[in-house]
Amino acid sequence: MVSDAKPKLAVWKFTSCDGCQLSLLDCEEELLPLAKEVEIANFREASRAVIKGPYALSLVEGSVTTAEEVERIQHIRSVSKRVVTIGACATAGGIQALRNFKDVQEFSALVYASPQYIETLSTSTPIAQHITVDFELQGCPINKRQLLEVITAYLHDIKPTIPAYSVCVECKQRGTICVMVAHGTPCLGPVTHAGCGALCPAYNRGCYGCYGPKETPNLVSLSRQCRHMGMSTDQIRRELQTFNAYAEPFRRESLSYEK
């Protein structure tokens, strides 16, 4: 696979905490093999050196929350053969998309001494709402193994193996006892996209839904069961309005509980 002209990889940041980019640095022992296969051309977390595009693969972290970002994402699309969005911010708007449910002017006035200097859009939106995206890798933060799988798949021109089924599958594969059934702990696992390896239930916690909605999630049925287990409608709304609050199935269900 090694050729003189290695494909150029770029990593871009929008509105985000940088945690998903760190997943790439977390790859540690795979970083050198990765650097052998691709030219890391634009990755500010790792290096100040920037090599000009076009890029074979752009990884985009973060959501669009400013007018400048609306412009910049268009430019990135135009210089990238493939765009893969990484993390809950880029794929669903992130935790900062909580503003989409409220009045951002009101927040700014409360938080900042001089809100007139704040330039922000009234919404935080996923990248795919602005440009065509080739693949969305969900998770808050993303799983480094899955990131490597996506990069590897693009290098070899094959479809990445990122199953869109529920976290329950991962619980059962590792033999974890269902916290919902055996402990009565409400859990978002049955509606949440696999990828984390079912981390929280393995430590007796219900799934927080960090990986966003799975394929064909049935939020109505799960939240009915959570009410049956004693959760208040306000608790359910709060459970759903976290990192993936603006992902459509979570958004729709949580809005049904808005007063």
């Binding site: 795979e30 490597l148 199953p163 329950c168 590792r174 799960l222 069961q225």
Partner: protein, 380 residues
Amino acid sequence: MHSSPSINDQLIMQCEQFEQLLQRLQQREYHVLGPTVRNQAIVYDTLTSIADLPKGYTDEQDGGSYRLKQRHDDAFFGYAVGPHSWKQFLHPPITRIWRAKRDGSSFHIAKEDKGIPKYAFIGVRSCELHAIAIQDRVFLQGACTDPGYQERRQDLFIVAINCGQAGGTCFCASMQTGPRATFGYDLALTEIVDTRQHFFVVHIGTELGAEMMDGLVCQQASPDDLQRDEQIVACTAQTMGRQMATSPVELKGLLARNLEHPRWEEVAGRCLSCTNCTMVCPTCFCTTVEDVIDLAGEETERVRKWDSCFNLDFSYLYGGSVRASAKSRYRQWMTHKLSTWYDQFGSSGCVGCGRCITWCPVAIDITEEVRAIYDSEQKE
């Protein structure tokens, strides 16, 4: 006078001899697996002695609910079935099938150093014996044989347990799969426990079972002992938490006649398509294969993982998933389990263990779904 036990013998085994039996299995290099308490549930895991068994524990089960409770006695097997099934050992959730390395323009397959353990299962229920027999038909008796399953299965030693109580979601009696173990075991035990005594009636099923009992100090069971054994299992059969509306053979036709029943749409409204029912089912056997390639494209491996008919990719053909709706996926699962399984494997795919009811997060109950369709036909 000591005489060697033989097939069909019925012996009385005290707890001390039960411990000796486990030690003997370990000495014969069996990996001994059985029920043990972990994380507020009774799971199947390695046993080193009878002290690892869930002594004095029971479970309370209902749709979408499982609670571990204390018993008022010291029974080792005083519970129904838990979240795990023996499937996880005979048909593991994740198995590497092969690995390969690039070799110039070709490749070579790396030799697998498998080292398959010889398993002894302790405390296998009648429903689970039926489930193992069903998976045997799937993996060993079709046109193709699964070599991994065959290796894990061939040296398996089974100590069955006749159920001393039924769980809240059990319905083996109506599926004609229990609660008494009638085949497929080396030894079958009935546990008898009260304030004065605690022992097992041992039914010897195979030569190997007889050999394992040989030398353990056990008396022949008396008619009284055997009568208690009968009573215990009969009582279990009468206290099943659930019941199918009709016989297994009738279910085949019932569902086949009702593929467009409005109930499928109704259950789809509740179904999470989370796959839990299929993962806990001791007979569900479907898998997918994933290829894992390294960055350089020098090494690859093919991994087999449990899959489920509730996943979209399961029915993905060029252009999309054949069963896109939850309705079609739930119907596929239930009609296969109870109806078309007969066409494919000559029996029902359901053994009445109740796991799919207990471990469904939203308490969907296969017996209730059958009853809804059955009742609507009775009204016509």
